[in-house]
């Protein structure tokens, strides 16, 4: 089977389109919630903050499949949380988005926190004198000055989301034609011995990440 042929198969285009959608949505959430968490975790110190910090980090250190299983237990039909949620997460698009989101989150939050705790504090003083609230200072002064770090972190988060398999497999179900992302298709291809297909899909992911890479390089150089 040759390159182009595999590329334009519906079995490739489907996952490609799904991955794009997931990445766009999860990416927006990363940026938004990652930044809000950055604010929350750098303003003051409390026990609660430490706990949130720890839980944000967990998906990084747990094997994906274990995280996926824990989430399945929590969010499934009969799960502690899932029971109270009106819509379905498992086996659905939202499950895939959630998996991508959770796996990437620590990678944007942690570098952001490190940057916010750095030298930008002096600028915050000036802004405080000019009568700005913590919230204004965060958005108008601190964030623009750690833009490079955010871009670096965002790239890591998006990259992780793109390559994520274990959690997506558990939450999304890897259902062909519905929740099989590009990465899961690679996983499936390897699983069933279609190594050429795996390699072609991998190069597709490579191109994808090169795109994000250059886009963020531009963005942070503005």
């Amino acid at each position: 089977m040759d390159f182009v042929e595999i590329l334009i198969q519906p079995e490739t285009l489907g996952p490609l389109w799904l991955t794009t959608k997931v990445l766009v949505i999860a990416g927006c959430f990363h940026l938004l919630i990652g930044i809000l968490l950055g604010y929350y975790l750098t303003n003051g110190q409390s026990m609660m903050r430490l706990i949130v910090d720890f839980f944000v980090t967990l998906p990084l250190v747990f094997p994906p499949i274990a995280t996926g299983f824990i989430l399945l237990m929590l969010l499934g039909r009969a799960g502690l949380i899932g029971r109270h949620i009106p819509f379905e997460i498992v086996f659905s698009f939202s499950g895939v988005v959630l998996a991508s989101f959770i796996s990437g989150l620590p990678l944007i939050v942690k570098p952001l926190i490190a940057a916010l705790r750095g030298d930008v504090g002096k600028l915050a003083e000036t802004a405080k004198i000019l009568g700005k609230s913590d919230w204004q200072i965060f958005w108008l002064v601190l964030l623009p000055n750690v833009k490079k770090n955010i871009a670096a972190g965002w790239f890591l988060a998006l990259g992780r989301s793109l390559g994520e398999v274990g959690i997506t497999l558990m939450l999304g179900g890897n259902i062909i034609g519905r929740t099989n992302t590009l990465s899961l298709e690679i996983y499936n291809s390897v699983f069933t011995g279609e190594f050429e297909r795996a390699i072609i899909l991998s190069s597709l992911i490579g191109v994808f990440s090169l795109g994000i890479f250059t886009a963020l390089k531009r963005l942070s150089a503005i």
Binding site: A127, K128, I129, L130, G131, K132, L140, V141, P144, K147
Partner: protein
């Protein structure tokens, strides 16, 4: 709109302990040797640090009452401050910097003209000179139309001409703004010309005699006996 200060704070090598007041339309010049506690005092008034004990009242509103553990946050105090080390925001151009804390009744362009930095309005802080940055920081503080103006050596990076021009401007501002101004300076002549009161700090204490001790030095800039050390 008067400021009443009575505070102490333990610093590394001595205790800062002052008590004075400052009235609208008046400029209190603070002088004193390097490391005397001048900047620390300004930071305490601005609320960037809290004193150990004491009170601070502005316009009959308590800003600090340490016996009640109260300290009003900096952003509520409506002050203008020009730092010794000017900290403009690197991600904004000069105009945006000045605009950032500005009340909307002020004319930014006029202000920039007055300070001779209008032609630099589109530059970022890192691409203008030290003195230009100092003037921009001054504009920034004024544009916020503060109730209290704190100046920590705002003219140190300026040449004589600009400096004397801005001194004149400051004298005008005293009456036109009609707010208390606290002005830290190393230039005793400046302090004399502008100050309605001059307060000398030495080792954190008000030192009434420090000033007279300085005058002979100031009037003829001499070389003290220094032995070559190399």
């Amino acid at each position: 709109m008067s400021l009443y200060i009575d505070i102490t704070k333990r610093l590394k090598h001595f205790t800062l302990s002052t008590s004075f007041s400052c009235h609208p339309g008046q400029l209190t010049a603070i002088v004193g040797p390097s490391g005397a506690g001048k900047t620390s005092l300004i930071r305490l008034i601005a609320g960037l640090e809290a004193p150990d004990t004491g009170t601070l009242f502005f316009n009959n509103t308590p800003w600090v009452e340490m016996h009640k553990g109260y300290s009003m946050p900096t952003n509520k105090r409506k002050i203008g401050l020009v730092f010794q080390e000017y900290t403009l925001f690197p991600h904004m151009d000069i105009r945006q910097n000045i605009n950032f804390g500005a009340s909307n009744t002020i004319h930014i362009d006029e202000l920039m003209h007055t300070f001779g930095i209008y032609h630099l309005r589109r530059e970022r802080p890192h691409s203008i000179s030290g003195g230009e940055r100092q003037r921009a920081a001054f504009c920034q503080a004024l544009a916020s139309q503060p109730d209290l103006l704190l100046l920590d050596e705002p003219f140190s990076a300026l040449d004589v001409k600009t400096r004397s021009f801005l001194c004149g401007l400051l004298a005008d501002l005293k009456t036109s703004l009609n707010i208390p101004i606290i002005h830290v300076t190393h230039d005793l002549r400046e302090a004399n010309l502008l100050g309605d009161a001059i307060m000398a700090l030495e080792n954190g204490q008000i030192a009434p005699d420090w000033l007279s001790r300085q005058y002979h030095l100031h009037n003829n800039l001499l070389y003290p006996n220094t032995s070559a050390y190399l």
